[in-house]
Symmetry: C2
Subunit: 483 residues, 2 copies
């Protein structure tokens, strides 16, 4: 608890959030009776009034109902009554993604501190273990003053690679340090991976929708993208994927199997295995993005598709940007049979990754506390996602559909078709609220009435108000069809 | 002086090295009488014996001769008697550079601490201002504990860009902070620049020879390279460059105008201007690498070609890797009319550059001392280059030609044609000496009897012995033609 002391939310909120998690996981189901106030205050070692505050918060959110003379009962929360976005099959034609005109605008608005940051995939700075990382950092600087006076040439710092390898069984893998190359964040890992397996003009299969950074990176390398219909239950449609491989000579397939961005699903193991088997049968490299894998909303970290790789054809990459520190710029990649090529390209692209940060993360992973920290972070993020869903359920017009993420902290929102998300995005920006329009998650211009909402920030009045404003803009749009 | 106290070379050597610099710059010329020992000891506030030690060192290197009853006089140093490499015109046909097989090997040997590092372009860790940087770093961590909890999205930290802009008049430029984008080192800047102006298959004009990182980066992007004959007096042959532009529709031209790697020259201003004028006339973007610009062996920092840019067609990039810290991974680029595209590509390639290092460098540049530090570093490096040249002059077989760098710390060596540098490279590696074979500096397989020697490391017995070993390997090769 010490490391996050400055930023801890109030006790009652911690209790309430942990109970929403129990509900989300099914440990508490609608109709269940929750502990009495007396019991709760003893269990959690808090005062009766704190216990009451927690229950009142949960009641106001629609998680609990008070039954006279009987106590508090779990009810179906408001937000669970909101339907999820509909599955929409993308057009499966390879597409040269054109440089997205609004990317520069997005960057600009992400850089502007005046905007309420519901757009870019960032979390509140105070959620990261800054104090702990700084302690380690100072220790290293004292112990090893020449920490940054050399290049850590590819594959990068051995101590860090060893720690990543040590944790790989959590992903269902068993890496050796030599399998791993350190990169400047996940997106560099993706770029290196794409360049190692495909050339400009080649066709890359991706999920529809998928993270715009993946789409745009492939596009910027001159690759064409084919979107495979993807749904939150079983991921990519494998029949369609196979048809695309057959027809378009797909050179690689990029997927986010865990805590998909923006859909939020965690792909069940059997689908991961089927995906690996299919791509292996066609000898198509599978590039797996696991950036939000550690942030799946479940106790046991989900396995990766890489766990089912028998041929070295799966390239797995991740980073510490969403877990420890976005500004550290440390990611990693296990490139299987493409290892040498990825390392060569890393040398030619950025020579090495930052030395000091590699050392700090290695020591953070080694000295323990990572799992405890991760659990706490996950709990916080789940609570934030629920708060946003709840507010949206309250404020947004009939017909709004909101995803129920099983991982990560993004929400994928579908509006009635008459709402144009790009116009909504601009109207919101005029009110200093930054969101992301759905179209940027597609190579084919789909998701015109979708947006992505980032729930990485610690919930507060500000976000509640911003969502209310957004809901009003939606209503106006629906009414006038002019916004 | 304080910041480098731990790593300062002995006083007599500092004096001697500053005098070799005066010789190199022509402030002292052969035949000039140097101050008497008494005068020197008073000037420099050192003991008579230190002054004597300095003169004896200079005498042993052939810089001074003692004339009885008269004092010490500057003589033509041994190493100045060595001829420079001959100008060799490369074949000017566009070439798709093939992935260089020995790149992986080079990386491996650079990572091996057992090897004497005359290969990769690195300097001794103790030459960098580590103590000073660490002080600033600790201050920032204390003052701003959340230093790395956000992305510094492109163009990067404003405070750093402001400091770079402030120093731009030294390069003959006048940038605003908005002109500059921060990158993960210089090579990322090059990659972004190339991608912003050219596509796979396009022809890029480069100097022959040129830094292999530039060659290989272009190759890894699928671009073809045409080498333009380049000599240390006037740089690229502009007639040949114009012919190549006419014939091959060159899409960009990459040059190192200051402290060329590996040739070591500083291009005079009139040739810089002529180069800019020519490429502008043909509307060809000129990408200028200024990584070693601050390490030119002259007091006044040389201007860049960018200084003569009237059309935003010159892209200038540099980094702090050779000056402050290789492990920081901070470089920058001024991309003129390609600014937006470079920033977009930066976002898609690595999102952001390390936050903490941007802050540390900004403060280092702001709080002063950079120029003083730079001057000291330059003096040390010039001394090291001279030490290597001197040892080579003593040991190496007749017919060896050695460059006289006007900047940076690389030597370009030409052996008699019967010596195969690639074989020499392998033989040296077997003796744990790492050097770079000349062929990797060419797209056309030229420079088979050339090597590059890195003089970045503080001179010691170890290097003297390594050069002696290298000389013996050369002699053996020359004798047997078998090595």
């Amino acid at each position: 608890m010490a490391t996050a002391a400055r930023t801890e939310s109030p006790l009652y909120l911690q209790i309430a959030e942990s109970m929403t998690q129990q509900v989300a996981r099914g440990a508490l189901r609608p109709g269940d009776r929750v502990p009495s106030l007396r019991r709760l205050s003893r269990q959690r070692r808090v005062s009766m009034s704190t216990a009451l505050q927690a229950y009142l918060w949960l009641e106001s959110r629609g998680y609990l109902e008070a039954r006279p003379q009987s106590g508090f009962y779990v009810r179906t929360p408001f937000s669970a009554l909101i339907p999820e976005p509909q599955f929409e099959a993308p057009k499966t034609q390879p597409k040269a993604v054109t440089a997205n005109a609004i990317m520069a605008e997005l960057m600009e608005s992400a850089n502007n501190p005046a905007n309420i940051p519901l757009g870019a995939g960032c979390a509140s700075p105070e959620l990261y273990p800054n104090r702990r990382l700084n302690l380690i950092l100072r220790r290293i600087v004292r112990r090893e003053p020449e920490h940054s006076a050399r290049y850590d040439f590819p594959p990068g710092l051995e101590a860090l690679r060893r720690q990543i390898a040590r944790r790989s069984p959590d992903m269902g893998c068993n890496f050796s340090p030599r399998d791993i190359a350190v990169t400047c964040g996940a997106l560099e890992a993706l770029n290196l991976s794409l360049r190692a397996v495909a050339k400009p003009g080649d066709v890359i299969a991706m999920e529809g929708p998928t993270y715009f950074g993946i789409l745009e990176s492939a596009a910027s390398l001159g690759m064409r993208v084919i979107e495979i219909p993807t749904n939150p239950q079983c991921g990519m449609d494998l029949n369609q994927l196979e048809a695309a491989i057959r027809k378009h000579r797909v050179k690689a397939c990029v997927v986010m199997t865990n805590s998909h961005n923006p859909l939020g699903y965690v792909l069940p193991d059997q689908y991961k295995k089927a995906l690996v088997d299919l791509t292996a049968r066609w000898n198509v490299p599978l590039i797996e993005d696991d950036v939000y894998g550690d942030l799946a909303h479940q106790d046991l970290r989900p396995r990766t598709a890489k766990a089912f790789d028998r041929n070295g054809l799966v390239i797995l990459y991740s980073s510490f940007s969403k877990i420890l520190s976005p500004g550290y710029r440390i990611g990693w990649v296990v490139a299987g049979r493409f290892r040498e090529e990825v390392e060569r390209l890393k040398l030619l692209t950025s020579v090495a990754s930052p030395s000091l940060q590699q050392r700090v993360i290695a020591e953070f992973l080694e000295t323990g506390g990572y799992d405890r920290y991760l659990k706490r972070l996950r709990t916080r993020l789940v609570g934030q996602v629920e708060s946003v869903r709840h507010a949206m359920a309250k404020y947004f017009p009939q017909g709004t559909r909101i995803s129920r993420p099983a991982g990560g902290y993004m929400l994928w929102i579908e509006f009635p078709p008459q709402i144009n998300a790009l116009k909504l995005y601009r109207a919101a920006l005029a009110e200093n609220i930054s969101i992301l329009p759905g179209t940027i998650f597609s190579a084919t211009g789909q998701y015109k009435n979708h947006i992505r909402i980032n729930c990485g920030h610690v919930w507060s009045e500000i976000y509640d108000r911003a969502l209310l404003t957004l809901a009003r803009l939606c209503e106006k749009a629906q009414a006038s069809r002019l916004v």
